[in-house]
Structures are given as C-alpha cells and as structure tokens.
C-alpha cells in the first residue's frame, strides 16, 4: 500500500517518517516533492576508460547538463523511515522536459534515513538550479515486521559514487 498525503503528514508529525526540512505545501495526493541539493558530481572519463568524479556547487544562474551524460546529485532534504519503504522518482514536470532522475534504481530501503543520491541524465542540454523542486518520494507499507537497512550507502548525505570497483 502507498501512503496518501494525509498519512504522510501524520507520520511526519509523529516522527515515523523523517523529511527535513518539511513543508506541508510540498505534499501531493500520494507523494512529497523533494528538492535538488546544492552540489553535483560530474564524471570525467580518461583515455584508459577510468572514471572519476569532480564535485561542483551548482551556481545560482544554473548549471548546464550535457545530454546523455550521467551526473550524481542528492536530495536537499534528509528523507527516510524506519517503518516504510520509499520510492524516489522525478516529478512529471521534470520528466516532461527529458531529465531522467534515477537511472532505474528508485527503491529506497526501510531504515535508510539520509540525503539520497540521485542519478541525473538529460535527453537534451538541460539547466539545473540549486534547490529546484526535482522529484517526488512516495512511502510504501511493508507487509511484515521489517529489518532496517544498515548498508554502506545509507550513511552518506552527499552525492555518492558507486562502490563497485571497475
């Protein structure tokens, strides 16, 4: 089951869901609008196929994403719950402009409460602004008693690269 606006609000009020900072105006009928954090990690590829990431602050006047290139970003808000699973996707207004938010991995584990890393890929050159409203998070009921996530990525509040060694 997916939580409605009123249930999300209720669970934020009693501390079962953490969204910080929280603005009730950002609630949708069955999700919450999250914002883009202030930094991006830009991938640099070298001749030997190795990839490294350079962190940049998104300027006020915007940062131009090149098409078909992957950038790491993060949510501005700290989001999570020890009771519900989360799903983070882009807003339809952003998808309609051709920006992929999350490349296929939209499921967030129960118990991970942090600023989520987002993968951004633009279909066309695309301007992003710091703290723009970029995506929606929804909350899902677990069917049975749950074990909380204690994995590696859950400890990070900055755009975090893959731990897979190439």
């Amino acid at each position: 089951m997916i939580l409605t606006k009123h249930k999300i609000q209720e669970e934020v009020s009693n501390g079962t869901i953490r969204i910080s900072p929280f603005d009730p105006a950002s609630l949708n009928p069955n999700s919450y609008n999250y914002r883009l954090g202030p930094t991006l990690k830009v991938a640099r590829t070298r001749g030997d196929d190795s990839v490294s990431f350079e962190e940049i602050r998104i300027p006020r006047e915007g940062y131009l994403l090149a098409p078909a290139k992957m950038y790491l970003a993060s949510t501005f808000e700290t989001i999570g719950s020890s009771v519900y699973a989360v799903s983070l996707v882009g807003r339809s207004s952003i998808g309609r402009l051709g920006l992929f938010v999350q490349c296929s991995a939209n499921l967030g584990h129960t118990g991970a409460i942090h600023k989520w890393t987002l993968e951004l890929v633009a279909a066309k050159p695309f301007l992003v602004y710091p703290l723009m409203t970029i995506g929606q998070v929804s909350f899902w009921v677990n069917s049975k008693r749950t074990d909380s996530y204690h994995g590696y990525y859950g400890s990070f509040d900055i755009p975090t690269e893959s731990a897979h060694r190439q």
Partner: protein
Amino acid sequence: MILSKAEILYGYNEGKIAIDPFDEERLTTNSYDLSLGRRLLKYTEEVIDPRKENAFETFDIPKEGYMMQPGEFLLAHTEEVIGSDFFVPLIHGRSGVARLGLFIHVTADLFDIGAHLRSTLQLYATLPVKLRAGMPIAQVSFWTVEGEIELYNGKYKSKEAPIPSLIYRDYDTDEA
C-alpha cells in the same frame, strides 16, 4: 498492494477505476495495456530551461509510422483516459517495447490519486524505433492506499495530450 486482473475489472465495473476506451481483452495479470495516441510533441529549444516556457511543435504520427532516432526525446500520450479516486495508478513500459530500446517515461511513473488524464508519455529512444498510432506501448497498474484520500487538484488537468511541462509556472511563486 497491487490489484490483480480480476480486481481491476471489478474496480472498473464498480466505477472506482476509469479507463476509456476499455477493452477487457487488454487486461493482463496485474495491469491493463495502453495504446499510443496519434499526437507527438517535440521541444524545439537547443537548451531546456525549466524556469521558462520551452518552445515546442506538435505533429501527428503519419499512416506509415514515425521513425524515432536514437537520442531523440518526444512527448506522446496514451489513447486512453485513465484515473481513479480510490487507487494510485503507476505507468510502466511494456516489456516488448522496452526491448526495442524505447523508454516510455524517463522518470515519473506515479499518477496522483484523483487525476483523470490521457497519460503523457516521455519517449526516449536508444535505437531506431518505429512509432505507430494505436500500438500497445505501456501498462497501467493500480495500487491500494493507506490513509485519508485527498484528490489531485494540480496543474495538469486537460484531457488533451500530450501536455508539455508547466514547471515554469512554479517560478512565479517559487524562489527555487
């Protein structure tokens, strides 16, 4: 919980799920197959800027089909108007279409409860792929909710489709 085929049909017959036009043959085990509508929308801007209204053109898919090129991005729509005031619809690509290298949405799969629309599809091709009006392209599944329901009252209301992004309207009131 996700509705089964029988529950979707029951919800449709009870008036709790709207799918128009509806054809029982299109029900699958956990979803309903949606067709591609005729109208396409293409942005004509070099750079997409979410703070302004981005220019676009619309055109109809010709009889012989429209050949979409790798890297091309188009908005399209489902032929069907779908929605529910009781369940949350999620839009998925059909696996047969995904196997052609075609994304049917780039990110936003979630419908708001209470929105009754032709779903705007965000098509992105990774291989050359021919679009034909009426082709089965997507699936909608329906999910039960927990909590008191407040229906969608947002900016995407028109049943005409595809609807371009209206995000620039947020910046009249939004400092972000």
